[in-house]
Assembly symmetry: D2
Homo-oligomer: 345 residues x 4
């Protein structure tokens, strides 16, 4: 079987394996206070053009989301997010488990607009019973979103301006950030993100690492005592250097960006194949996730050879499914799939 | 000014004041372990025809909701409720503050259907990523709802049957229960509720008491160690007898039901006055809350003499507002309002 | 039976009952935004000589402790308290249920010293693994303590100075504050407490009210959005005026202080009776709680007529027990007990 | 510098590196549902002689402790542990952050006795105010303890019998379990632990793995929905296979036990060197951590060449420090240290 069902089916980029082997018997301080972490953080600050930013490394996305949000909010405050946001749908109530309400806003494409944030916040503040409702204080977005869509620079600037004017924090989940930065048509850079968000993360798990997310705090108010919170939420790796070594490798010679770009080009190829057969998409995007809508019998045929993930039923005879590429996808597998699509459709 | 804006603007029924004065210097054990609480609980069990039920007294609605839900759920479990449910909208994230996600379901009239519960639970259990989502385990409904609507007996039976079949708890918030039981057309009795729900409460705060909610557990699995949870959540009154004395009074000679019925009749009179002037309602109901949709200039006129609460803007020139009657409403005030409506409309 | 077992066995002072009856049918805004609460808060600010202080009313002690502490702390921070502190021993882990560790310090007499606070905080800050330990950020003391002992002015000044220098909040639980302020030998005034603490409360439940604690915030940093937290933790009474009416009554004509003083004088009389018979005390104090150590057979005799509470076993034939006076204690009962002690010992 | 300061200073055993490299490009399901995890779990069940046990893999110790305890307890319940227990001292209040009180018991050697458990539980259940105190429900022990001491089989049997009789869960933190099982004089086997505890874990992080703890549930009541809790607390690794691959390697050909035994033998050698110079120990033990008490000037000399960790000051001129061996310790370094000790003392 050929797996296109997600972007975490393999281990890691070979350079990371090499680095782990090379450094294996070095003796270092624990808990992320080693030289590898320091070096990786320095490279990330440089890539973000954010020399003052604080960088912390965590193991996974849910852990990062719950820890950052818990660090940022007082007990009565909530996180605004699009209804399809990962923290709302796929983290088993992890944010609520830290005591905070997730305040959802409708969204068709996985994105949130500045106007929606403004509307919710103004409605809250002008409601006679505002103290009876969780207070919106942080805006959670992901880029790319769960649906593989991207914020444009002007959208992100509007969100940032709105949040700052209203006194909210802007937090960007970048679990698939590389695939967004390298996508066709993307006009947002890493320094833009560092400049416009209070905190965001560069996802490693889905972009070449065994595991790991690099959290970048532009807003120093959010960094205070953050390591206590990592530890409290069980996210402080004894051998923290594993995160440093991985991100140091990814941030060397633009490896992170190169492998993400390659995955995006393979996704583009697959996207062109669907488009050539006039397959409609659940949502248009340019990143590493594709959501074609296909007849059940075609999907049954494809499922004999390929693994993809179910997204949603469209009608009695069609489903939207998800195909992902990643840093690990083999070009030959994409070509095989393109060929089979041509034959089947 | 005449207040119709809510059902908690006055103190308590005079018989409660008398009982408090009469018993004031009695010396009793603290924390609800006194004879007044025992007597009140016995009367409630009798009224519910539920001789095995456990009865606990708490001070207020939010406290009751958060304590019952926290007692019932494991950390990864959530409470299903209509999107307009009090726990979702007006409790400052109190349920989330105990760690649990509130899982909302769309609702126009404040009610939840058995089919909705079934659909959500089946969707959860058949999703490949079910462990990545909060698990629905308790259904929270209110009767009357926030919009003053009522469940019919067959609706409640269907909900109960569905919950039991699927292994969910059914919890009914009865903050305004009296006004529901005595409403025109209601076909649900207190014993029905005790039989069909796992846990529910009889609201005192809005129906004649200074404060207090009597929680009735039909399902013994939910009662275990419940007093620890009351204490932990700050709901255990040192002078717990105050709750016993109040509910003992309300449950004597059907006082609770009589004063609720009187409020409902006054609401009916007001409802008839609106209907006579063909005033549309945001939602049709038969309980003590009315949600007429009126032109802004009529509302401005009314606001010179009456206090009512804002519900929502309907269009550029109309708003839905809320008028409440209660155990304390004076008939003369209702008549004044009916007269003014006739004059204004 | 005559009850000396606690200070919450009766209802409330008759003037409060009268005030409740007098105001019963007034229509007021809910949730503590009424004129009675405003008037009570003004009188409290005046009594504290703290014109800028914020005053909030809550229903009970555990609720107040958990809400104030949760409002003050970030997730990784803990509350320092003597090992016998109410939050550590008798609140069913209410503070922990909000996510915060209670950090205990040894204490023989229920008090904490400035030196202990300094030692714990310095030890924390100089430990190589400080991020692996909950961070001390708030000092919780009670005055009188659980053992009826009192802080002297110089002790309280030292604690306050230490907390401010180290950046910790000082929170004083005044569940029995009246009995402390009026105790023989006490040199601390209400304005002293307001000046030296960041937040404290004036206990009503045990000093003449049906229920209620008046929280006074001297430090404005702790007040922000406090009403959201009251609501979230289920402490916001719909008929908040009940708290205003009670504290307004207690703060009028020094009623609170007069009834506390009377209870202390009755305790003094009882104390003298024990002393006259050379009965040792578990701890020396001058407030309304006495902890005599008596032979089991004497206690058995006393238990035929009086109710007292168990404190701890001292040896095979002796136990320390607790006798309380309160605003409600009848002089004749104290005299009866004094007489019986004389006869028995 | 030569590091003896902890047992997590290096990466992992070479066989694990090899296994990671060998399997790197395999495509597997995520989140621990792969064949490597299944194989590792099977080997663990076999080693435990517990064919019915459930096995879950988590990333680190704090994460495991907080997740297991949160899964086991209802909100009002607490975890009993020796005062020096890791959850009490070095996890930044992680257990409290899930809402549960840690109930400490005095201990000199890091261990808890069955008699202590019995005493605490009986005291709780017979206290008139039991509902005002967190309810002890789980006993947390570590083996080896923080001080490197071990439970004997009879001690563990007594604890287990007491817990079962009283209805408490017994949870054993085995972060250093290998070093305990292979210690001189140890009479407890892995099957004993599986039989006597409700849940325990086999620590990988400190015994040859890059990271990872294998949790073994003997009591099926604790396993229900455990994967939801792992996910909610941020502990579910997308590439869960990394844990399976590591534990599969460690459990093959007894690698885990062999490398632990080697570390213990090196510790024995070091222990003998201290004993030969009559160096007192803070606590006697036979595992991989040593706590010698040495004069400050000797420590200053040692610190020029070796890194060790500070434990506690003993008097004005002596400190107890910690030296650890591990799976990665080089024999030549132990010999160098033994030689230097001989020269210095």
């Amino acid at each position: 079987m050929i797996y296109f069902n997600n972007d975490y089916a393999e281990g890691c980029h070979e350079k990371i394996l090499e680095a782990l082997a090379r450094t294996n018997m070095d003796q270092t301080p624990g808990y992320g206070e080693d030289a590898y972490c320091a070096a990786a953080a320095a490279k990330i600050r440089a890539a973000c053009q954010a020399p003052e930013a604080a960088v912390h490394f965590l193991v996974g996305g849910t852990q990062t989301n719950l820890t950052v949000i818990d660090a940022a909010l007082r007990p009565h405050q909530g996180a605004l997010c699009p209804v399809s946001g990962h923290i709302n749908v796929h983290e088993t109530g992890a944010v609520e488990a830290t005591g905070h309400k997730v305040l959802t806003v409708p969204s068709e494409d996985g994105k949130l607009t500045a106007a929606q944030v403004e509307q919710v916040v103004v409605a809250h503040r002008t409601d006679g019973s505002f103290e009876h409702m969780a207070q919106p204080k942080l805006v959670y977005i992901s880029n790319p979103t769960e649906l593989g869509t991207l914020y444009t620079l002007s959208e992100l600037e509007a969100l940032s301006e709105t949040c700052r004017r209203l006194g909210l924090y802007l937090f960007l989940d970048g679990a698939r950030l590389g695939y967004g930065l390298e996508a066709a048509g993307n006009d947002v850079t890493l320094p833009d993100i560092a400049r416009l968000c209070d905190v965001f993360y560069i996802g490693g798990t889905k972009v070449g690492a065994l595991f790991g997310e690099a959290v970048v705090f532009s807003n120093p108010a959010l960094t205070e005592d953050f390591r206590y919170l990592i530890k409290q939420h069980g996210g402080m790796l004894a051998k923290g250097r594993l995160l440093g070594i991985q991100f140091d490798t990814l941030m060397t010679d633009n490896l992170y960006f190169k492998i993400a770009a390659r995955a995006d080009r393979l996704a583009d190829k697959l996207r062109a194949a669907f488009r050539a057969r006039k397959v409609p998409m659940l949502v248009e995007n340019t990143t590493n996730q594709l959501f074609p809508i296909l007849p059940d019998e075609v999907l049954a045929k494809l499922a004999e050879k390929y693994v993809f993930s179910e997204q949603q039923r469209i009608d009695e005879t069609h489903r939207a499914v998800r195909f992902c590429t990643s840093w690990a996808t083999k070009e030959e597998n994409v070509e095989a799939l393109c060929g089979d699509l041509k034959a089947l459709l």
